[in-house]
Symmetry: D3
Subunit: 186 residues, 6 copies
């Protein structure tokens, strides 16, 4: 057998591996932030760099449109995120578990670092008039992304509107309208 | 030094430990489901049984009011959940990560078992006319609980309504109204 | 390559996975406890629910015959167990490691919860006149089961009777007799 | 606070640590094997070398009396063991989990290596006419030791003889006699 | 007891924790690269952000002097590193384990990403005429740093020159001279 | 599908596994120590015993030539090592991480045990006039081996001599000469 798999991914013999298996280019390029809600994540995970397999880390660049570009409330099921701001001004935060549901938020400027612990809802919001850029390390080669509003109102197939109306204290007409919208997930 | 701590909790000398350190009573008692959204979780975690420390498991009983008792969409940041229905009929589901945001749902009857993987949004909803009861194992002695709607709209202090309006595609007046509601978290 | 394996088991593409991959029915059914030693375990592990793979948890229902149904002393090499009594009265216990070999035991009634830490010998014994039922969460998708008496006296091929006679302080004739018995393993 | 604890043990500042914190002498000395069942384990774990804390390994020397010195069937709840024979001839084995309960055994001579997987019952038995010596690595700084016969018949307090009689298919008089014996645990 | 410790570090009650416990400023500032070998690492680990404890990740900024600023061959005992170049041109590489000792190297420009697997010797070298800057995520809240040349020739106390002369195939006079130098460790 | 893989290695059905899958002979044989630097490691890892897969431990025998046989400074990226001296006298040590780079060293005699923590540079040196022998347990089934001098000066292809000259404070002529040598790796 010539092909060996680990974690469901090809594991090369070191003799056949190349530097390119540990490489990915282009993280200096801004990505398009014109679509709602105004942010775009370029995630360098094990799908981009096969050499990351089993190594428990990935890297991301996040671009934000000026005046309100938003990386909406989301969760990484398998990773803590440590972010630093390269350009711009971000209002960021995360909410801790029950029973406190306390919000830890902060306005970050260039060079500031903030931690978003594994499995907690967090967001980043560009409150400046210029594009913002952040880089982040994540503690998994495959962090996963659960965008809360899209998972709730934009799943396929949809969650019963009875559930959502009761959970979000919305009338079913509003829920139905929300479920009919397009939900982007940066 | 007489007191030894592990994971921030007291770790007893085996000579001093008692069977009661591995015991908790009363999981046969239904808990009150009269408050919105109509469910109540009794979680037997390391706070209830100190002997669970470091052992990576906990147990829960969940009671549901008849005709729509809901354990609203939530996430356990540190645990997968395996649930079985003791009484009643539950519509349950979870939504997977980007890019698919696919809903895996099912109607469960007495004796059915379902898995909710770690870090994913999931819910259970009583679609029967009688009270429902479920038991669940969770793969952490301290699973954590992030009720999505409460974390988004009921955090303390609140998340900026600019963020929530954009993330949920709601107008700010609706967001402000939602933030003024009381958010229970079973 | 179409088939991806993780942990030696098929790992489906999320696009192909179905709710049934996270589902197992029938845990409300009592299983037969008429054979010695009078208990029967229905284990819902990764063999029953493929979606449990890598998730570190499983669930079990244990039925006990009235008047002495026994889940005999055994070990789970890869799991801690948290058990709750649904019906009946169980005398349960576990024995800790050297040098103490202390027994932690308790009589459990309906609704009581007890913890059996990973890798320790433990048992449950129905001391009531009616059938007993328990549910348990286990901290592995594949806990393993080492029934002590069967592993010692009923292995295939048998352990040398010199070893067993010395270890158990029995004469070899008794050991040989024991090795000739049928050893059930619930 | 001057004293820092990790895993319930003192964790020294590297500035204060000494080579002796990573050192233990005397593993060349045979230990007494005159007591039943004729073996003696010298375990170099985190209690002997504090520097092993968090490092997941320990080392053991095992001495066996000639003509039947036995390290009786036992389990390490937290460690796999890899053993090599320095002197003598050992009959060794382990029994795997349900449903197979298959015995993997072998006669080992000087220089032979054998693996005993975590959480499985295993034993080593000196079938030679001279003292035997083995060294073993174990995959935990605190492997734990559950000697099966002693845990079953020599726990403190004792397990109910109803349980043991049924589990081991022995009459209660034999169980009571066994429980009255002295159980050594090498 | 008011103070709770985890991993030897203070663990705050969520009620007392503040956003500042998850924050560190100033990563936009270049650090001094004038000292040999011409690089400087600003590591944001658990010593800088207490909220990183148990979360398994840290972040670093690395500055390189123009024309040969070097982050010399080193190892992180507890972390894989994923680095991206913000400014300048770096020649980077790592060497894999025996028996291959193969060098995986590459010239990185702005926006390029490269992985340095846990426990392997790696380096980054500024081959451009302007200062270079890189950011890196590391898969531990406390990665550790073993600068190879300093650990070999600049330890305190020194390693015997017999060992070093033989290991590095150098005469003892050269070893002694090397041991008398000052070894910086960025 | 008949062949199942775990960690990229064949995982046998227990029904097909044999005792030989957990066995390796010959660790009583001294290996050749005549080549520079005068030591030879016989490592019993998962390549030698397939049954070690996933079990997190391996065993090694190390032979040292008299009067200076050296196991040169090296790192195991995935394992802590616990060593005991069977014959002879070894000067051993390891160097801890930045900022201390403190050497922990000791002269070991027969029966002495010493710990070399994961990911730190360590060495063993025979300072006696007779051959020395040691046995070691390592906390991985595949510890890996990074011999520092060989990885630095003997990689394939070579590291740029600009990097090595600067890192080791050597002139490039000396680096070039070193890179032209043969580097053994025991």
């Amino acid at each position: 057998m010539n092909t060996v798999f680990v974690n469901g991914l090809v594991c090369k013999n070191p003799k056949d591996a190349k530097p390119e298996d540990f490489f990915f280019p282009g993280l200096d390029k801004a990505s398009d932030t014109s679509k709602n809600p105004g942010s775009n994540v370029t995630l360098v995970n094990v799908e981009k760099i096969v050499g990351l397999n089993t190594l428990g880390i990935s890297l991301a660049r996040i671009d934000f449109a000026p005046n309100g570009g938003l990386n909406p409330p989301h969760i990484h099921p398998r990773a803590t995120e440590v972010l630093t701001v390269m350009e711009g001004t971000l209002y960021v935060g995360f909410v801790i578990s029950a029973p406190d549901f306390k919000l830890f938020s902060k306005v970050l400027n260039k060079g500031d670092v903030f931690v978003f612990p594994k499995g907690l809802i967090h967001f980043q919001f560009n409150i400046g008039a210029v594009p913002a850029v952040a880089f982040a390390g994540l503690s998994s080669q495959n962090p996963g992304l659960v965008t809360v509003a899209k998972a709730a109102f934009g799943s396929n197939p949809p969650i019963s509107d009875d559930v959502l109306a009761k959970a979000f204290q919305l009338d079913k007409k509003t829920v139905d309208w929300l479920q009919a919208q397009f939900w982007n997930s940066s």
